[in-house]
Structures are given as C-alpha cells and as structure tokens.
Symmetry: D2
Subunit: 159 residues, 4 copies
Amino acid sequence: MKYQKAKSLEVQEWLNTDKDLNLEVLKGNIIVIHVFQMLCPGCVQHSIPQAKKIHERFKKDEVIVLGLHSVFEHHDAMNKIALEAFLHEYKVSFPVAIDLPQENDYLPVTMKKYDLQGTPTLILIDKQGNLRMKAFGFVDDLEVGLLIGTLQSEDDENN
Amino acid sequence: MKYQKAKSLEVQEWLNTDKDLNLEVLKGNIIVIHVFQMLCPGCVQHSIPQAKKIHERFKKDEVIVLGLHSVFEHHDAMNKIALEAFLHEYKVSFPVAIDLPQENDYLPVTMKKYDLQGTPTLILIDKQGNLRMKAFGFVDDLEVGLLIGTLQSEDDENN
Amino acid sequence: MKYQKAKSLEVQEWLNTDKDLNLEVLKGNIIVIHVFQMLCPGCVQHSIPQAKKIHERFKKDEVIVLGLHSVFEHHDAMNKIALEAFLHEYKVSFPVAIDLPQENDYLPVTMKKYDLQGTPTLILIDKQGNLRMKAFGFVDDLEVGLLIGTLQSEDDENN
Amino acid sequence: MKYQKAKSLEVQEWLNTDKDLNLEVLKGNIIVIHVFQMLCPGCVQHSIPQAKKIHERFKKDEVIVLGLHSVFEHHDAMNKIALEAFLHEYKVSFPVAIDLPQENDYLPVTMKKYDLQGTPTLILIDKQGNLRMKAFGFVDDLEVGLLIGTLQSEDDENN
C-alpha cells in the first residue's frame, strides 16, 4: 500500500506549547489531529472529550494529540482570546494550532489545503508522516483505537 | 407560606426578541430563567438542553423561558458577538438577556442582586412574581416538572 | 373535567411487600405504576431507573410507586424466581405485583383489563382513584414531574 | 514476550450456532469473549452493547466474538430458557456458550479454570491461541480497538 504524505500545517499561532510543532518536528510519532471550532456543538460534545481521552491514554507513548482550530464561520466570535478561554474552561491541555486565516477567503489555509468538509474532522498520521485517516464527523473510539494499534505495530522505517 | 418577590433583571441588551421583557411585563406567567455563561461546560452540556426542552414543551402555555447571560469571568471572550454566534450554533431560540456589567466589579448587576453562586443557576418565578426556586448546579427534570406543575395549579391572584 | 376510575389490579402475588396493596387500600395517595417485563430492554434501560428515581424522591410523600410485571411473551423465562433475581440485581425495592396470568390467553388479566399496548407503560392515578395517565413507551421525567405536581395540588375530595 | 496459551472452554451447550466452537477450531482468528450473566446490570448496560458493536464491526474479518454465560448466582433464574429469551430480546446474534455447571460448586467450570473475578469480563485471544487480555469490569472501546489493531498486525505464525 502506498500512502500520501501528510501536508504541513499552516499555523498562525500555537497555544498550550512553547514550540512550533510542525509535522516535520514530530516525525517518528503517531499524530492525532482533532480539527475543531470552539462553537461547534458536535466538537464540544464528542470530539473534544475523545481527544482528551486519547491524549490522557497515550501521553507517555509515541502518540501525539494536537488540536487544529480551523475557523470558517463566526470569525469575530472565535478569535484567539475566546479560544484561550475555551481551552481553559474545557481543560484542554494538549497543544492547539490556530489555522492560518486567509485574507479574502472564509476558509483558513490548512483547512483548504487538506480539503476538509467541516468540523469535527479527525486526522491520523503514521510514524512515516503518511496521512492514514481524514474523517469528517464523529469517529467511534473503537475505530480510533484500532488504527492506532495498527500504526503502533508498523516499523518506523519501511512503510 | 410567604414568598419573596423576584427582583427585576438588570439587562444590558436582549437577544432573540424585539421587546424589553422585564419581569413586570411578564407578570401572570410562570417564568423559568436559565442563568448561564456560553463557555461554562456544565451549562452547555446540561442546562441549555434542559432550557430548550422546557421552552419547546411549554411554548404555547403560560410558561416563559428566558436565558440570562451572566458573565463573571473571561469577559473579553464572552462578549455580545460571541454570544450571538453561540445562540445560533446551539439553536437557542428563546429570549436571552445580557446581564448588565459593572465597571469596577467582575460580577454583573443581576448576578450580584440575586446573590448567585455561579453558573448554571435555575430560577423559577410564579404567576404572582414570587421567587420560587434559585438553584445552583444541575436540577433534575423531574424537579423542574414538579415545581412547574405546582405553580400551574396555583391561582393567579391569591398566593 | 371528569376522569375514569382506575380499575383494580388483578394480582397473582406481591413481591417486596407483606401487604396486599390493591388500589382501594392506597386511596388518598398519588399512585405511579410502572408496567414492565424483566426482559424488555426499554424497561430495563429507561423505565426501571425512572421508577427508582421517583420512588427515591417521593418516598416520604404521598406518592406510591408500584411495579406491575405483566408478562405477555417468554412466559417460561420470566417466572417468579427469575423476577426475584432481577429485582435483587437491579436493586428495585418498591412493591411489585405479578399480573395474574390467564389460562388460555398469553395476556395477563390486568394488562387486558387496562387494554395496554405493551411494556413499558406508565400509569398515574390521582388521590381520588382516577386514571390520569396511561402512556406506552418512555415518558420524559419533565412530564412525570409536571403531572405529579398537578396531582399534588389537587384537593383530596372534590375532583 | 511470552504469552500463556488460552485454556479451552468447558461448555454445556452452544446457542446461536450449530457448531462446537471450541478454541482449537477457531485458531488462526482473533477471539473476543464476553463473559456475562443475563441478570448482571453492568453486562446489560455496557458489555452486551460493546460485544454487539465489535461483532458488527468485524464480522467479515478474522475477529470472532463469542459470549460465555458463566452463571455463579441465581442459578434457577438464569437457565437456558431464560437465556434464550434474553438473547432474543437483546438481539444478540453471535454464538453464546453456556459455561459448564459443577455439581458441588456455585462456580461453573470455565469461570473457575480461568480464575475469573466476576461478570462482565472481557477476554481476548490472539491468532496463535494466546491469552492477551482478561479484564474484569468495563473496558473502554479505545482499549479494545487498540489491542485488536495490535493483534491484527501480528503474524499468524511466529509470536
């Protein structure tokens, strides 16, 4: 099987971290990216709790959980100050990237690059940097566990 | 039994309505007030759904559901623009009052006047304008139904 | 308004009580009857927890919660021994009546008399002994609370 | 790593299947065994739905879901007739083994052999026939998925 390389994230600013966590830096790890909007009910109800559970479960392993805040509506309401308050109130401690806004487009850059349908979207990247899942909507914990188990079993080098 | 009169609401602005819905205007109705903050997880998970259910159930009766957005933290994040986006995303259609901010106090005026402990808080007012419930935290639907049933059975005049 | 009198229960045996709790004996109280079958998934998931909650909430008031085990399928599986084990495992402590089986009919007597569609069914009887609710399926806690609140507000005598 | 071989199941009778599905027969497959009692609330609420989900998800793969009805209390209530009614009502379609009862012991044979603490218990066996999980209580879907993903990635031969 031949997988597509995951495209780099275009980030305006990182929260909950001092570092620039671009995908190159994280290579060698399994990466779980929860793409969300802080005022998206489905994200708040299902995806944020799932992301927190995965983060808690794997934080000592080589599975990195990232949030990507890709705002494509209500831009004035979901700014950086609001997002910081949201992360504080919902006790989100994993790093969150603010997707780079575009001047003449309501879609932010990474969202467009990845051709995402909306939020929530779950992205999984393997140790080689390949895109292995890009799923719009809610993904069952069983599926997420299954894919992480598969990715963990793969060699670091030869996929 | 002798009940305290419910104090008037001090409101900066009403959303989801053209009218000024102060308690005097609504007198003769049973009034359910859900005091919330848009970034309070307990409000989003439990109280907003409960308020929507009560609103849906009783909208043709004399039970009026109001929201009261009493911001006492993250004031910059929970402004009017953010609240409007929130009400849109969470499909809240009942009238919502923005509690009047105070200049040198983080507590808004109505919250202070009513001596509220935090959000969510559920307030019930009878047809006579008396305060009949002021409960911090989550109140079971059974309790809310029970009190509404009791208040509906009371005369309009002589309590 | 004129209500129908609630028909008497035809009972093979009472569990969780020493007394014969026919409706005549209980008159003057509000009576909540949860009609169930121990192997009915909807009863186990929704109605038994609701009945336990009502029982717990009102046990010191004049609201009596009764179970009525109306078996109309799998008669061999849902016998008295099985029901006793079920009540023990699910920690049901309110009195439960075994609906009287009929010899040449799969329907037990009370179920037929009350013309019930199936299980779960929720029955509410007022202090005067009138039938005030007979609802097949799951009834929201808000509705149950509302009706109990109404029934509590009614006089004992003149309805 | 060296794993213990999974012990054979001692079965009185199989339901939902015509075959004797002992572990030797199933070798080469990943096997998920949900040990339950039909009147155990935790089994009904969590484990049966989880087992049904795993069965539905993997039924075309080499993951076999089995139930093991290990009765160690209320033996009279949880007999074969009752179990058949239960499986019908709860729409359980995967094969279920009745754990072999012992004459002078309340514990059935397989339960004793496997030294199980109670129900629900989740057992996972790899393609080589090794015991890879034996967990009492409720196991999160994420964990189950993770282990299945790992087991699927292992060779059939050399573990």
